[in-house]
């Protein structure tokens, strides 16, 4: 099978070949593979690849899916701009007025996606 042509993580363009290489090197968990390849760190936050990687680990190490260690789930569930977080901080500590002024500046300067 042409593993280099099978995409496991669509967001970060990680192939099955790459995942199997990681397993061959001894990586055992989804989080380890995430840290070395970025699989699961894109816009969808692993919604597509997490189960596929778990299946590869299950197969390679001969453990049932029930026992494959899941990755850690942290907020946010989707990418948020730094500008949005900065506005939230300002609003909390300097009041809403600071934010309304800031939001206009932010838009002109471009918050940067």
């Amino acid at each position: 099978m042409a593993d280099k042509d099978i995409i496991i993580c669509r967001c970060e363009d990680i192939t099955r070949e790459k995942i199997l290489e990681c397993i061959a090197e001894g990586y055992q968990t989804i989080d380890e593979i995430k840290r070395v390849t970025r699989a699961g760190m894109g816009p969808c936050q692993g919604r597509t690849c997490r189960l596929l990687i778990a299946q590869e680990l299950s197969r390679a190490y001969g453990v049932p899916m029930e026992e494959v260690l899941m990755s850690t789930f942290r907020p946010p569930t989707k990418p948020v701009t730094m500008g949005t977080l900065a506005d939230a901080w300002l609003e909390e500590y300097e009041g809403e007025a600071a934010v309304s002024g800031r939001a206009i500046d932010g838009k002109e300067g471009g918050n940067g996606e």
Partner: protein, 366 residues
């Protein structure tokens, strides 16, 4: 600035709409957060008629059921509906963060009902990133919401209800459905849907899979092949099928990331199609005050998602002391409806999955 909220419902699909309506009609104040601009979840594109009993609107089309639920929610003064509002995080101190109009909002709900639904599963085969390869949900959205003919010549992977229904709707839209392919030895969906396709001359190949896709820059065809009883590809059975679209309907998995974040006890239950929060008979998770209803607690039909939503909504009302006698009656009635919905042969898998959940709950208590 953290806003105190009595009940927060996350996700405005069939489960969330019914949960919000139930809790609010008992007297609780509900904030309903929906990620999309339009509430209704998958119901907004379901043009087919539903099964079940009268209480679950059997015989009506999904889209009309959704519209009715949304209207009830909009008319209920106890419900505040936030659309285009994505819940970003559930924290240990009970704070829930929401992204709404580029603003990062914080809430502290007394009770939370997670009804975030499911995500589509993906399949690994060579060239699975070619343009023209879609999830069935996207194809259905293009067709039934956008009014766009999604393909000229399509191969559908998966003969569960979604694969069968979307295939038939594509036929209705004038798409040439070349074949439906199913890895399992049997058709998974209702035979009434499969029969419609067969009558229209569409072959349903059980025990087959996609070996690989091919095309220059876009999908031009797929190589199908047969599977043996151990799910291994059988050499020499390859079949080259030219097509411009490959539609994947290979199942859904619970979208439970918020339950993970909140620290709920999670278990992988294959009959429920993935990791689910372990819930009690009121659909409360292992975290006090956090409930889970609908596909997030196990993949099932929209009919049962609606009843689960109602159950969780009234259970929350009871726990908050709203109209307790009647709310408890509604909880009991919903439980009875669920066991009726799951009583047939199609409910066997769900019953097995829920039995495992009950077992895990017992283990955790001991």
């Amino acid at each position: 600035m953290i806003r105190e909220v009595e009940v927060m419902v996350i996700g405005g699909g069939p489960a969330g709409l019914c949960a919000a309506q139930a809790a609010a009609s008992a007297g609780a104040h509900v904030l309903l957060c929906e990620r999309d601009g339009v509430p209704g979840g998958q119901l907004v594109k379901q043009t087919h008629k539903f099964f079940g009993s009268e209480r679950q609107y059997a015989g009506d089309r999904g889209i009309f059921i959704g519209q009715r639920l949304v209207q009830e929610v909009r008319e209920n003064p106890n419900i505040e509906l936030l659309t285009d509002a994505t819940v970003l995080g559930m924290y240990e101190d009970g704070v829930v963060t929401v992204l709404k109009d580029d603003r990062h909002l914080k809430f502290r709900p007394k009770k939370t009902i997670v009804s975030t639904g499911a995500a589509e599963k993906f399949l690994s085969f060579p060239n699975n990133d070619l343009p023209g390869i879609y999830g069935a949900g996207a194809v259905q959205t293009l067709m039934n919401v956008g009014g766009v003919k999604p393909a000229d010549r399509v191969v559908m992977v998966g003969a569960g209800n979604i694969g069968l229904i979307v295939s038939y709707q594509m036929l209705q839209a004038g798409v040439d459905v070349v074949s439906v392919v199913e890895a399992a030895p049997n058709i998974g969906g209702f035979l009434v849907h499969a029969a419609k396709l067969r009558r229209a001359g569409v072959p349903i190949r059980t025990g087959w899979t996609v070996k690989e896709a091919y095309g220059e820059g876009k999908l031009e065809g797929v190589i199908l092949c047969q599977l043996d009883e151990k799910w291994q590809q059988i050499p020499g059975t390859e079949l080259d099928v030219p097509c411009d679209t490959l539609c994947l309907a290979v199942g859904l998995t619970p979208l439970a990331e918020l339950c993970w974040q909140a620290g709920c006890h999670m278990e992988f239950i294959r009959e429920l199609s993935g990791h689910v929060p372990v819930t009690d008979e009121n659909l409360m998770t292992s975290v006090e005050g956090i409930y889970a209803a609908g596909d997030v607690s196990g993949i099932e039909e929209a009919s049962s998602a609606m009843v689960e939503g109602r159950l969780a909504g009234y259970a929350v009302a009871v726990s908050l002391g709203y109209d307790t006698e009647n709310s408890q009656k509604e909880v009991d009635a919903a439980r009875k409806e669920l066991s009726e919905l799951r009583s047939g042969p199609m409910g066997g898998k769900i019953r097995a999955g829920l039995a495992k959940v009950a077992e895990k709950r017992g283990e955790a208590v001991c």
